[in-house]
Amino acid sequence: MSGNRATRRPAVPQHPTPAAHSTVPRPLPLLGLVLALAGLAIAAYLTVEHYTSPALLACPENAVINCRKVTTSPQSVILGIPVVWLGVAYFTAMTAANTPAAWRSGHRLLRAGRLVLAVTGIGVALYLVYAELFEINAICLWCTGVHVISALMFVLIAFGTALTSKPTSAGS
């Protein structure tokens, strides 16, 4: 009997199927989802602020911390699109890409897309930090919150992708 069982074992698929990516560390999707939702909430708040706050012809008491100055600067628009919109779109896509089902999926396009999003996010965040420090000369704490979340998501997704990746020859 035991010999029969041993002869049947090779029938088990040798190449990993998408289910092989179910070895995703449990906290990963949860953490990714929480970060993406937090980023989405801040981006949504900044979008509402962007469109509802009247133009303020005043300086805040603290000249360095000045959210209005940052969100109404020329750098707050990239290729004609307000950065706040880009933020909402980015974190909406990130929320979808960080659901447990998305992390369990072994779909290469999805995994690559999530990684590209993370790289794009940190790239834009670095540019915006540069713009705040060198061009606008002011820092928006809400924007900084978004940048920190983007950086954390980048690290999370980079390591998450590394931990759940399989050698190409194994069919990943």
């Binding site: 010999g3 706050s53 012809l57 005043a58 300086c59 603290n62 000249a63 540069y130 980079a158 931990l163």
Partner: protein, 309 residues
């Protein structure tokens, strides 16, 4: 019969171990890439902050050396002050309400603000602030209709801020005498950058700070603009929070160039500066009980009468 499965299972075990090793090696390589990418991001952030701090220090040093040049201008030339404080009544009357973004806001139920038995005007701003730079022009014109400024300084807004180098005067060290009003001008900072903002200049008294805390906050102004400057309390009856027109109008001009057009009603600068001065004059007339009559009955002083509340 029993030997073959054994060989197969050994081969499979070896293959499995090899596959596991390959997978582990791959994972290690991927984790190294992720670690390197994370390190690149951390280095990029550190470089950005480091360069910014370095540049800030050199800017501050440059600012200190150039302040020697600015100090030479020091007190505003009498001819310039005369030009600004002597805008003709005909021009002011013709401009009337002008093109003004906001007029003084009436405060309901606040105690009267007085000093030396006269209604007091308290202004709190800073030399680096371009919006303060814009608002000082009409304040000087309006207050000069009730009294006389001496020792007005010349300055401009910060070079590294929005609307850089907006030309203006400074109330730091200035004095104001009037039979009708008292005036206190506080410039909290210069236009010279430091690591944490700008060099400190005047410190508001506890009472002045209390005015800012109380009236430059909700519900008098929107919560998002609480604490903003310029701020002015006009006798406890009106307040100003923010500039009444955009500093963009003064961009690229010297004080002399701005002063030169203040008697031209067709100039957009005049429409904004003189128009704001007229709104302020209307408010100040309410504080003085419409004195002096020559000022308070003029077309300029009555143009905004219905709007002030």
């Amino acid at each position: 019969m029993s030997g073959k499965p054994s060989i197969d299972s050994k081969r499979q075990a070896r293959e499995r171990i090899a596959a596991q090793r390959a997978a582990a090696q791959h994972r290690r390589a991927m984790i190294q890439i992720a670690s390197a990418a994370t390190a690149v991001v951390l280095v990029a952030v550190a470089v950005l902050i480091g360069v910014r701090l370095t540049r800030h220090t050199s800017t501050t040093a440059a600012g200190k050396s150039s302040s020697t040049v600015q100090a030479m201008s020091g007190t505003a030339p009498a001819s310039l002050v005369a030009q600004v404080t002597g805008v003709s009544t005909a021009t002011l009357d013709k401009v009337g309400a002008g093109q003004v973004g906001q007029i003084p806001l009436a405060i309901k139920g606040a105690p009267a603000l007085t000093s030396g038995g006269k209604p007091e005007v308290v202004y709190i701003g800073a030399e680096y602030c371009p919006y303060c730079a814009a608002e000082r022009w009409p304040m000087i014109i309006a207050l000069s209709r009730f009294g006389t400024f001496t020792n007005l300084g010349l300055t401009h807004s910060a070079s590294g801020d929005v609307y850089p180098n907006t030309p203006t005067f400074s109330f730091h060290g200035a004095a104001y005498t009037s039979a009708y009003l008292s005036f206190s001008g506080v410039e909290t900072n210069t236009n010279q950058p430091t690591a944490n903002g700008y060099t400190t200049l005047d410190t508001p008294t506890a009472a002045q700070q209390q005015l800012l805390t109380t009236y430059d906050a909700a519900p008098y102004v929107s919560a998002s603009s609480a604490g903003s400057i310029p701020f002015a309390d006009l006798g406890g009856q009106f307040l100003i929070s923010g500039a009444s027109y955009s500093p963009q109008l003064l961009a690229g001009k010297t004080q002399q160039q701005v002063a030169a057009v203040l008697n031209d009603p067709a100039s957009p600068i005049t429409q904004a500066v003189d128009g704001t001065a007229n709104a302020l004059t209307t408010a100040l007339c309410k504080l003085t009980g419409d004195k002096p009559a020559t000022v308070c009955t003029s077309a300029a002083a009555t143009a905004d009468q219905g709007k002030l509340g």
